[in-house]
């Protein structure tokens, strides 16, 4: 995902802001990292460039 995607994303649980923590970057593309709910504290993974913003109760069915 591009960092500019942060402009349109929010925490799916309460629509509050997310904080971006980058683990791996390739130019302006964030390949892995975590999005953290600033209010809920919920952690949403970014894997292979795709943020997974499913709510926690929908996340386990890979």
């Amino acid at each position: 995902m591009k960092e500019s995607l942060m402009d349109i994303l929010c925490d799916p649980l309460d629509k509050s802001d997310l904080e971006l923590q980058v683990t791996e970057r390739d130019g302006d593309e964030i390949l892995s990292g975590t999005l953290v709910g600033t209010v809920t504290g919920e952690e949403y993974p970014i894997e292979d460039g795709i943020p997974n913003l499913l709510p926690p109760d929908m996340r386990d069915d890979e």
């Binding site: 925490d11 799916p12 795709i50 997974n52």
Partner: protein, 211 residues
Amino acid sequence: MTDDLAERRGMETNVYQPAEDSALLAEAVVDHARGRFLEVGTGSGWVAERAARDAEVTRVVASDVNPHACESARERGAALRAEGHLGIEAVRANLVDPFRDGAFDTVAFNPPYLPTDPDNEWDDWMESALSGGESGRKFLNPFVDDVGRVLADGGRVLLLVSSLTGFEEVVARVEARGFDHETVVQESYPFETLSVLRLTRGSASKSAAEE
């Protein structure tokens, strides 16, 4: 080679591939999508690609609950960008849950809509791409309830509706949520009629005030 084939077979069995409904939604998207565009339930990303290539959009975001669909959409986006088009930004999401208020000028959705007997569900990614629960409106209803939140002023929704899902029931839901609606394309097939409804806000609230 075998891995490639296995992977392609995996995509075919795990991700909904474009069909008549996709083609009809794409037609509406090319004519009516503007500005910041989101496709919900993008599947293979085929409609999102048509938006990136042929519609007057400034950004293309594609979401799906299915991780294989998200991968497919992201790969399409990378190929598009390499050709000099807008890319596709993939987000794994349930409906419009993780998007900010007013984030989009256009939202398109071809919901899983086949009415399905609960005893007869087959519980894999393809099932979740097709089945709309008993009514056929399991995903359509919550989408219609929440999509207004993520629309910017003057924004529009392009919603594919099958006659199997119950056109009148969908229209009633849409009206209850304060949208104006207009059928922008329609096609009949032996077992269903497919329509794309364009939903807008504006004169709806005005006429509600006048009543």
